[in-house]
Symmetry: C2
Subunit: 353 residues, 2 copies
Amino acid sequence: MTGYSVNDLKKSSPKKVPTQADVARLAGVSQAMVSYVLNDNSNISVPPETRQRILDAIEELGYMPNKVARSLRTRKTKTIACVVPDITNPFHTVFARGIQDVVERHGYDLILYNTDRIPHKERASLRLLQQGRVDGIIMTALHLTAEDFLPLLRLNIPVVVQGPNVMPLQVEGFPLDSVHVNDVAAARAAVSYLIERGHRRIGLIAGQKDTPPRRQRELGYWQTLAEYGLAVDEKLIQDGDFREEGGYQGMRALLALSPRPTAVFAASDLMAVGALVAIKEAGLKAPDDVAVVGFDDIPIAKLISPALTTIAQFEDKLGQRSAEMLFDRLNGTAPEEGRREEMPYQLVVRDSA
Amino acid sequence: MTGYSVNDLKKSSPKKVPTQADVARLAGVSQAMVSYVLNDNSNISVPPETRQRILDAIEELGYMPNKVARSLRTRKTKTIACVVPDITNPFHTVFARGIQDVVERHGYDLILYNTDRIPHKERASLRLLQQGRVDGIIMTALHLTAEDFLPLLRLNIPVVVQGPNVMPLQVEGFPLDSVHVNDVAAARAAVSYLIERGHRRIGLIAGQKDTPPRRQRELGYWQTLAEYGLAVDEKLIQDGDFREEGGYQGMRALLALSPRPTAVFAASDLMAVGALVAIKEAGLKAPDDVAVVGFDDIPIAKLISPALTTIAQFEDKLGQRSAEMLFDRLNGTAPEEGRREEMPYQLVVRDSA
DNA sequence: ATGAAAGCGCTAACAT
DNA sequence: ATGTTAGCGCTTTCAT
């Protein structure tokens, strides 16, 4: 790291990147020695004096080991991939942030992929990750089934899935781990709460069609209404995209009904936020005119007004736990069969319902 | 991709990953041929019949090229790194999303690093990226100077920096590109607006100390007050961390003053949101008791209540443009000297001021 | 049109 | 204690 300067840069034609061989030459040792001190190989004892010569040479040349070459040789990349549907959704970034904590602690790198909730991008990301660039994968998949993961697992690349597994992701003896909260139960908690508060006409803004969280949370909605002997009016069920816009549109549609619902369960906080905007825009008030319960408890939930009553998922914990499960597999300390861990949720009552 | 099944997985011991050599053997050709068809090498014409045999073999084995080996050989990774201070801040994720758009269009992968705004993590990420794993870097740096980027640039790894460069990031002849908005001018627009609306006692929630955006925005604040002949009361200047919590604490401190400010400029929307919470908690109303202007125009800015008056930065455009500048360099179509592009900002007036 | 062979930078088994 | 050597899987001359 000595004496870099701008002039340095200007003159020097594209500098050759120093390699281990260069270091070895300068230090007057064999290339293997350099590798030994670099990796603190405990089988080999390098005398302190030689070691220092090598370290000096490394310093002088500004040598950095080439990770690509190292990975090719060791067949380990020390890198984990996290694949999420939407990097601009706080739920997913907080999840990723939780993963980062434990990945860093293990000395691994984390790389992030974004699939935009698009089926072919989900598949494409998996194909990419088959190319030997990561040691393991943590994925929030919306459109995949067990078969999609088989190629990876055959290559011994462990995968942890985040989310409800209504699709046959887990099969007997399938070494695929997952973390999830019980979406059905969580949705029931949300809807029960509304019913207990006296609401009888409850809308649902359900989230993107044909995705597991959507299905599970809608199922919870149906179950709860049935349980309380309430009829389901399908007009009260709106799609959505899990994002603000979907919640806004869904709420507008619900408000156009007559009679309109007195309460709404939105299957994500982002949609709940959009719904609150629509309510305000219509000159109405939450929770007085329409009560709203969300899902996720993202950071802004407590900050908006009215503060959002919602189902907390503890996404940072979800991320941490999924990473731990992944490292269990990488370290060979996981049971052969896939584990399916259920994580806690919690109804957080604030002001919107 | 034929006939994967769970049983398949269970029996088969850790399957050997098929290589080009395996494909070649099965197709009865030399390994080079496989590489030719894989890369559509135009100098070489492979007869359709041979080509098909190879494709069949690839299919049958489920062969995927090993990206690590390919990178080692070609010295290209087809991967771009984006380094951001805080992956849970919408400003940065929308920025990253903009980058992803153009990176994908170029057939590259994007990997994301998170530095938590910590100096040593910023430096560490750069060191990581010196290890030959990416072809280029787009970074939002809070604590780095030109010297930090020299090793990368010497290795011919192009870097685009996002943000105001009060630090000597750009030097004559230094091939480092950057995009930024004029933070000083933007801050002046925000503060002028408040003054024009009659405010005379204006607080500043300034953001993390010793960072360029903080300094620039604070400078704009000072300049504007001076311009209007208003004295600066340093007690009206609060630090913050660019996050909700910092804005909340900053606002509480400001509200404890007497007389308290009638308006506040928060150097990020996240802090503005926190400030609004503090205002509400104190039983006050924005904008009547305290007006608030934010900075960034993140997606929730328009959704909270009161909707946030703020400075829009168009972070998706920032991301796209920085990626384009990077590819200019990768394609050799960039001027030798670093470009320093200023992007537009805009005062967006909503309800909070 | 196809094949043989070198080598990208590194690690690890083996030899000295 | 240190050196020699053989690849990891791929692309790319250069021969044939």
